[in-house]
């Protein structure tokens, strides 16, 4: 178990280092950043001043090692536009994104677990097929479009939910549902496949033979085994949701990290952009490690690996 953890940790650190490099390269793609920051009406002197003020006159390698060195210590630099620490900005906006991601994950699990179990128990019946169609439709749904449709129906015509902002918990319902849609197809299919496999196994036959109740067999024996891949994918899906929430934050005007990144891209505020990419990647790597550990707890067979 310890060796497994150390190995995972080394890979995670290497991934973080690679992402740091990629984020740096990505933000330097456009050539001279000072020109775009200084704006269209800047004189040569203005551009030179900007270059000096932001340290862009230093050699690229110096800038790179400066960024890597500071970012490794948790210092993500200063925002050009907001004139504040990037870490502060991200810290302020992160709760909204996390709340949105977790709402999405909870809704996705509340929908896909029962659907997947139902489909597995009633395999090859109309109900099973219905569930598979739902998964297929969910997969094809453009999230931003679903968000706009929900706004028209529940925000404007029925007036049940607020269409933007983060004033109350109700504000998170529609964006949460939209975000959940991106994870529901995968989670439902996985639950269904896991349950079908589990129901066909020897220990379920034993449990049946012992005369255990149907509910006990389903929930205590089959689900526990089917849950192993679902837990792993759920953690990974949460990572994807946090990364994908940029679209939904924009649709619903939720001022989370995604919205911050979108604003910063429009303003050429590259310290913020590279920091958000790095933070989201690190969160994703952390979540996949967490998933592996959860798996080890749920399934003792995996602990030796």
């Amino acid at each position: 178990m310890l060796r497994f953890l150390i190995r995972r940790l080394v890979v995670a650190l290497l991934v973080a280092a690679t992402v740091m490099t990629l984020a740096f390269v990505m933000t330097r793609l456009s050539g001279d950043l000072a020109i775009s920051i200084a704006g269209p009406n800047a004189t040569q002197d203005d551009i030179a001043a900007v270059r000096k003020a932001y340290g862009l006159d230093r050699p690229v390698l110096t800038q790179f090692f400066d960024w890597v060195g500071r970012a490794s210590m948790g210092d993500l630099g200063d925002s050009f536009f907001f004139k504040r620490r990037v870490s502060e900005l991200i810290g302020e906006r992160m709760p909204v994104t996390l709340a949105l991601g977790l709402t999405g994950l909870v809704i996705a699990l509340l929908v896909s677990l029962p659907l997947g179990i139902l489909a597995a128990v009633r395999e090859n019946t109309p109900l099973d097929r219905f569930v598979q169609v739902v998964a297929l439709l969910g997969q094809a749904m453009p999230s931003f479009w679903l968000g706009l449709l929900l706004m028209i129906v529940f925000g404007l015509q029925l007036g049940w939910l607020p269409i933007s902002g983060t004033d109350s918990w109700q504000s998170f319902i529609m964006p949460g549902v939209v975000l959940a849609f991106s994870a529901i197809p995968a989670l439902t299919r996985l639950t269904r496949a896991g349950m079908i496999q589990a129901m066909a196994s020897d220990y379920i036959r034993t449990a049946r033979a012992k005369g255990l109740s149907r509910a006990s067999i389903l929930l205590k024996h089959a689900l526990r085994n089917a849950a192993i891949p679902v837990v792993a994918i759920a953690a990974v899906q949460l990572g994807f949701m946090l990364g994908g929430s940029i679209v939904i934050e924009q649709v619903f005007a939720l001022h989370g990290v995604g919205f911050l990144a979108w604003e910063s891209i429009a303003k050429n505020d590259f310290p913020v952009v590279q920091a958000v990419v790095l933070v989201l990647a690190v969160i994703y790597v952390g979540l996949t490690m967490l998933a592996d550990m959860l798996n080890a707890v749920l399934d003792p067979r995996l602990r030796g690996a």
């Binding site: 990505m26 297929l136 094809a140 749904m141 706004m151 028209i152 404007l156």
Partner: protein
């Protein structure tokens, strides 16, 4: 029973994709109007199922008086072009990486796995937005950005299927016959994993189309005045509370096309008995 139902899905998917391909190829011949021609006197005309419609504009007009049906057909062309090009670019990258990892094993495979892990940790939408934002939005930049980001499923499937194939007898026979490594990869391995890769390709086309729409919706995808469906939805957003059809029409087009591609992909998977996951 199940097969029959699955087959219907495959056919529906094939018909949708067929119609979309036809629209994409022959867009200039099919459109009733110039999709870029503005007519400010005919703004936001309603589509045919509503009252007060103009028969020469079946699906109405947008906020600048451009014919919606014509823009929708050209939008199909953009979606298909992006979907196919992105998939070709990402396919070349992913299949090369995956086959190498699966075939060579050892250190090479470790590097391949690491590359896949790193790619998965990158937030795709954000990175694509940032690159397009910094380099400027154009079809070419968008297609290559997405192509460079979406190769990981190709790599994963190519790697795992190559591993299964490389130990089979006909590969051993090719070794014995003195074939070069390249000849074995191109002549023996690739043809035997191709069916799996075709299934991945359909799923990637669908994914690329959805991503392009999302990026264009956020204003950093296909540049205006090109009629990308995502951009049409973004431009019509200000009018959606009064005339919901302006976002409903391009949205349904996008949804149906992606659904069709996925149905076809699922059908092909069943047909080949292929896998499209890890």
């Amino acid at each position: 029973m199940k097969r029959g139902w699955r087959n219907i899905g495959t056919w529906v998917g094939a018909v949708i994709v067929g119609i979309a391909a036809f629209c994409a190829l022959f867009a200039p011949l099919l459109v009733p109007h110039d999709p870029f021609a503005q007519d400010l006197g005919k703004r936001l005309l309603v589509p045919f199922w509503m009252e007060g419609t103009d028969p020469s504009h079946l699906l109405g007009t947008d906020q600048l008086g451009r014919d919606y049906l014509s823009r929708l057909i050209y939008g199909c062309r953009i979606s298909m072009m992006i979907g196919v090009t992105v998939t070709i670019v990402s396919g070349i990258i992913g299949i090369t990486i995956g086959v190498l990892g699966g075939f060579m094993g050892g250190r090479v495979d470790d590097v391949v796995l690491f590359a896949v892990t790193t790619r998965l940790s990158l937030p795709v939408v954000l990175v694509a937005l940032a690159v397009v934002g910094l380099l400027g939005s154009s079809m070419t930049i968008l297609m290559f950005t997405l192509g460079l980001l979406l190769w990981e499923r190709f790599a994963v499937v190519a790697r795992s299927t190559t591993m299964q194939v490389r130990n089979l007898d006909f590969v051993a026979a090719a070794w014995c016959a003195g074939c070069s490594r390249f000849r074995i990869l191109a002549g023996e391995v690739l043809p035997n994993i191709a069916s799996h890769l075709v299934v991945v390709a359909t799923l990637e086309i669908a994914l690329a189309i959805l991503l392009e729409a999302a990026l264009s919706f956020l204003g950093l995808g296909v540049p205006p005045p090109l009629p990308s469906w995502g951009l049409m939805i973004a431009e019509a957003k200000d009018y959606m509370f009064f005339s919901p059809w302006v976002i409903v029409i391009p949205g349904i087009a996008l949804f149906v096309l992606v659904l069709g591609i996925n149905l076809l992909g699922d059908g092909l998977r069943d047909l080949f008995g292929a896998r499209s996951d890890a």
